[in-house]
Symmetry: C2
Subunit: 291 residues, 2 copies
């Protein structure tokens, strides 16, 4: 069983870019040609999401090694959405992509174990995003489950949204709250390092806080970062440079809307628009420029 | 449209008890007679969960007004589990029960809105539990969505698990972190009060911290509490008294395993065991004893 961190490093190296493509399908943003083929019902929208995301996977696979489907949009379509998400996850795996299920789960004990089953068995994800607020016994059952089959987590540390500071930046015993979460991540991550020197408990750190990103990179040298906030959310390639180690590894940088919806819905040539957008972002985040 | 808080107050008053029955189905705990009728596959387990939970709803409805299905156990069964959860939620509503979907969701902006759709439209829940770590823009879209149709939230403030203190108890500018979350809940909750004097942004506060419960009750006089940790998790009826206001309202106290799995799997008379357990807990938490 290859270690989580080594598989992620291989996925990034294989395509030579730290870009991660986020799959956040929204009915109103879909190409009109895809949208019009399916009823505006939860079941119809689920099929439209599947069709669109499978096409996006085919387009981006030559350029990126990592994708991050957002569970919420599929869940909003009910059971048919969960079927669609399963199929998107399966196709991504068939294409050799590394999959991060963005579900931000957080619960305790046997409930956390059930979320692990949902992420690692039902969805067969390589990694799942995790919310740390509930504390030790919310994160540890997910770690235990992940290690059974070489999977991993990305724990929310410092997120990219404008309102993130309300709690994450509170001064707790002289350090912001997110620094305490970072210290816990470092501890858990250090328990199980791969050959590449990274572990299996990653951190979510927003692109729009370059100074914090730099500090966290120094504090957590063995932790994989998942960096949201690049592209449509305002973070630039320069902003995210601090997320990488000198070897160019250490972070995957997510872009969702910027690379999957770079077109107006009535653009018949939307596939070409995605190809151009993903090419540009993959080059901006090429490994030889990140280190 | 009746206000969320008034509907919850009516549900509690109608049965005269603050007991909330948690539906946390686990295959290994199911009555053997139910389990043996269904294959040990995700689809088979989903049908077993539905069958068991529908029966539990029928048994407990004469005694309680509020139920709390745990999404994780259904999600672990894949799409069939989501179908089962929808049916359990629908039956609860048909029986006139107030439903709290325990999903502990937390994400931002349009992603938060998608989780609101999943909770309030797909699952038709009266309330959903919410994780505050992502901050203002994680909670506010859910509040906006909830208010459109008289629903509400319960935000995690101080949870009942042993490891909760790792972050929730950190000293932030002189107060524990959960106190800062409590202050935000008080602000949001105060924006929209019902006739009963309570609002629509509740707080999750564990039964096993009686002193904190007392303090939070004083600080948040208009906030509905959802209190886990009673029964199997160790909290007693005396421990949770502090959660109530003088009028006997203000809190619903959850018991999951204690009232839904009070039998060994091979007990043929499991329905009678549930009836006895729910009767006992409903009386312990009768409104005339809580105030």
């Amino acid at each position: 069983m290859t270690h989580f961190a080594d598989r992620l490093a291989a996925a990034v190296r294989a395509k030579g870019t730290a870009l991660c493509v986020g799959l956040d399908p929204r009915r109103e943003s879909l190409p009109k040609s895809v949208r019009d083929r399916h009823h505006d019902t939860p079941d119809g929208t689920a099929v439209a999401y599947e069709e669109f995301c499978l096409r996006v996977l085919d387009i981006v696979t030559p350029r990126v090694g990592v994708v991050k489907p957002q569970s919420a949009f599929f869940e909003a379509c009910g059971p048919a959405g969960v079927v669609a998400l399963q199929r998107v996850m399966r196709r991504a795996r068939q294409l050799g992509l590394f999959t991060i299920l963005d579900a931000k789960r957080g619960d305790i004990a046997s409930t956390a174990a059930a979320y692990a089953t949902a992420a690692f068995d039902v969805m067969d994800a390589d990694a799942v995003t995790v919310n740390p607020y509930l504390g030790r016994d919310a994160v540890e059952p997910l770690i235990t489950a992940a290690r059974r089959s070489g999977r991993g987590l990305f724990v929310l540390v410092r997120t990219s949204n404008p309102g993130a500071g309300l709690f994450q930046d509170l001064n707790c015993d002289g350090r912001p709250l997110y620094q305490h979460v970072a210290a816990a991540v470092a501890f858990w991550n250090g328990e199980n390092l791969g050959a590449c020197g990274y572990g299996d408990v990653g951190a979510v750190v927003g692109a729009n806080h370059p100074n914090e990103l730099k500090l966290l990179r120094e504090q957590l040298p063995q932790v994989w970062f998942l960096v949201p906030g690049y592209g449509a959310q305002g973070g630039t390639a320069a902003d995210v440079r601090a997320a990488f180690r000198a070897d160019g590894l250490g972070a995957v940088v997510n872009s969702s809307r910027g690379v999957t919806f770079p077109f107006p819905p009535d653009d018949a040539d939307w596939e070409a628009a995605i190809k151009i957008a993903v090419d540009r972002a993959a080059v901006e985040l090429a490994l030889d420029r990140t280190g």
